[in-house]
């Protein structure tokens, strides 16, 4: 049990450890990436992308559909035309990008779960945004608040999920105008990990900040952000009023944002990787520079979300070789600018967690690990181009996150790790199964995925010939049955509920609530 694990439990239940909690919530430390990052291109190609992006910013510009944003940009020396298109001098971009921190800590209500975003730190967060859920028992259906709560619980119980996420699924059974309040309440009530704020409007962002202030304290979250929120750029070359409204609220409150061009190459950007990345980089730089104009030093993450377009069906394609290349290039650019980087995830175009989903997920996720991504949204649960969150997929993806935890530790080259004495003792054709070295090390030597079948085919048949999905289905049921909520200060909970009730009364005056 790690230091962090021990602190966690002490924090939550002073003087007492619940047995079932100890069994179901095995916390692990956020992993440090000890591996060398994979660079897809050399300095020259990277400089070419950078310079092309600067040309896009200075010659073509990015549209900002928000009057106040245009005013701020103008005041800081950007050139704004009558179509709300903002052109940036290269020096201006570089000046403001440089003000952003290279890493920051996001607060969790359980301080043991604070996460560091940036540097060599890796943070995994759940899928974000699906309006549907799918599981083996009930099939595909519209997501509800009950589903949302279930996923918060699963993320809370996962030792490999460092964050509770944001809109894990859309609770479609709730009114659009107030569901952000219910989602934030769920993150606070059913988990104790860091979470994301709402970005649907400036008002929603303000609610997110207000609730975080109640939970953490106003001064505390001014010093260190409690919210990390997803600002998508509507590519090509456009930030809309809702996202800009939310961005301003968060930056002013010193809360972290992820500036992410959302690109399906061939539709929102050229069909080429070079063209896509040059445009993506221009868009990200514009958004990031703007955050630093709103508040210099505000924590911000360079994001990339890129898939390709199936030019046959028009649908997005995830797990493609081209997306993998874009991911690596984005990572190299973020490192060049000294910014934390968000990308990757267990992406799949597959509708169910079949072998296609498995292939696609690792084709996206392993590059995220090798490329040095700091914040991996969609690290578990993603199916169907992000339209559905899979219950079984969520816990299966978590098995892989466990593998990546082990993998990121790198290789031990100590004398004991070389085990020369052990190699000496085992005669040619002998075996290492019972050596002292094996006995001393076997517990931690290999990562074992609990939901993966490693038995013989004969044993597998005796056990019911279940595929991975069926095993995962059983696991989900067991986890949700075993779940126990983390303790929450009753006074704070009441204050949070009061705030939410009042806001709902304002936003939905006709509702009975």
């Amino acid at each position: 049990m790690s230091q962090r694990g021990r602190r966690t439990r002490r924090h939550k239940r002073p003087g007492r450890i619940s047995r079932s909690e100890a069994a179901t919530v095995a916390r692990v430390t956020q992993p440090l990436n000890k591996l060398p990052v994979y660079d897809l291109v050399g300095e020259e190609a990277l400089e070419l992308i950078h310079q092309t992006s600067l040309r896009i910013l200075s010659e073509l510009g990015i549209a900002f559909y928000d009057e106040e944003a245009l005013q701020i940009l103008r005041e800081h020396g950007a050139e704004v035309n009558e179509e709300s298109v903002v052109r940036f001098d290269p020096a201006l971009v570089e000046e403001f990008i440089a003000k952003a921190p290279d890493h920051f800590t996001q607060l969790a209500r359980n301080p043991a779960n604070n996460v560091i975003i940036g540097g060599k730190h890796v943070c995994f967060a759940p899928v974000y945004g699906p309006p549907y859920v799918v599981d083996l028992a009930r099939g595909r259906r519209e997501a509800t608040l009950a589903d949302f709560e279930s996923f918060v619980k699963l993320a809370y119980m996962s030792p490999y999920m460092h964050q509770s996420g944001g809109t894990i699924v859309e609770p479609t059974d709730l009114p659009v105008d107030t569901r952000h309040l219910d989602m934030i309440y769920s993150h606070i009530k059913y988990g104790d990990k860091a979470f994301m704020g709402s970005v649907m409007s400036a008002d929603n962002a303000a609610d997110s900040v207000a609730l975080a202030q109640i939970l953490f304290g106003k001064e505390q979250i001014q010093a260190q952000p409690a919210l990390l929120s997803l600002i998508n750029i509507s590519s090509p070359r456009r930030l809309d009023d809702r996202m800009l409204g939310a961005l301003k609220v968060y930056a002013r409150a010193n809360q972290a944002t992820i500036i992410t061009p959302f690109i399906l190459s061939g539709a929102m950007a050229p069909v080429t990787v070079a063209g896509t990345v040059a445009q993506m980089n221009a868009e990200a730089l514009a958004g990031i520079a703007f955050t630093q104009m709103v508040r210099p030093g505000a924590p911000v993450v360079y994001g990339s979300f890129q898939a390709t377009t199936d030019l046959q069906s028009g649908a997005p394609v995830f797990g493609s070789p081209e997306s993998q290349q874009s991911l690596y290039l984005g990572a190299q650019l973020a490192r060049r600018y000294g910014l934390p980087y968000r990308s990757g995830g267990m992406f799949a175009s597959a509708k169910i967690a079949d072998v296609q989903a498995g292939y696609e997920s690792i084709m996206s996720m392993l590059p995220a690990v090798l490329g040095g991504v700091n914040f991996v949204l969609h690290a578990a649960g993603w199916l169907e181009n992000g339209l559905a969150a899979g219950y079984e997929k969520f816990v299966l993806d978590n098995e892989l996150l466990g593998m990546f935890h082990k993998y990121l530790l790198g290789v031990d080259f100590s004398e004991d790790a070389f085990a020369l004495d052990s190699i000496r003792d085992v005669k040619p054709g002998g075996h290492h199964l019972g050596t002292d070295h094996t006995m001393r090390n076997f517990r931690t030597a290999f990562y074992r995925a609990e939901l993966f079948d490693y038995n013989s085919a004969e044993q597998w048949v005796i056990d019911g010939a279940k595929d991975a999905n069926q095993r995962a289905h059983d696991k989900v049921k067991m986890m949700l049955k075993d779940y126990e909520p983390p303790a929450l200060d009753p006074a704070k909970e009441e204050e949070i509920r009061d705030y939410i009730s009042q806001r709902k009364a304002n936003l939905l005056p006709d509702a009975s609530e």
Copy 2:
């Protein structure tokens, strides 16, 4: 259509192209890896592994269970003890390793399918060795010659499979003593790609060489190898008589071998990555040095095959983070020695092609691509720790090999690829779907996996809600139905059949054949 593709068809059917053949056999060129390789460790750690391996070779030694081999080793200055354990002076190892070529060309009976092994070239070959096959219609069963022939046909028809492989499956319905003859005949008759020789004994190897001499000519295969054969080292630290018998035959005939320590860490080597790789490297170096003592300059490949042991069930575990690390380290060592490298494959412990198999396969295969592996055996069809070859898995894995072909091309950073004019023409919020640049490039822009579903969930349901396995099953049936054999010189075919009949009569005097 590439140069190679055109030459292919001209060679096979002078003056005439069969319509169905053109439709079913889409040849592609063996890809050049234009990506930077991923190095897991720096020079210092690599040197530490190298030095530890030299210590294992000079202090502990490797057992060679073959009298003639011991004699050869002794004559070249190695120290042999009474237990057949051979100790190598570091200078001796380095001297002989340096004699091996850094790449070579393996002949195929269709010269357009010759493959280059080494350098920046990548060669994908089918699964090797399973005694069972599995498909959706008939389930799991013992493999037969009919299965073997079917897999040769599927490999022949795949544009992403560069080699026909060796023992793709064990034809368990044939006598053990002669089945190698039937397998080689199948490779020759039903495909036209390069293939692997038998390694079960010196006699089997001699048969393989004799058949290659008939097919290619004696002098031709002395100049360039027609066989690439898999010499496994029975770790820890042991080469057995059968493998050494085959090795000597192949090296003397200037045929290529892959020297591969076969290691399940925790059983055949220490539970640690460092210990495993140090031992593996020592074993590979011993085997490779020996090939160069038998015949300096004989083509040889540095092989690594490493999985971990599930210390709960004792079964092998594929797709583990530790295996990935071993693969990268092996690749770095092979590059250090200037040798072609064999590793990787679409490994899975899963019993069927479920989501577990998908995750596991890419966890092994993407590192093979990023790590710069030259020869990837088991690049398609592997299931159940290699005990079963999956028909559906075979064609599904091929879809991924297609992706890797595209991926290995790297990124085009030409002016046209940056598409700045196109980015300029598309207004903020517009789309790139119909631009000149998109229309010019969309056909080759993105790799599309034919068997992957990219439709909407609604369309997917209308199409029968098939999982990837079911789609693959249909594809296998269609391919085997559409298959047409490549032309084979009748005189050569007769000579080959005569040789085989005579050998069978000698080996199985009591059989009616």
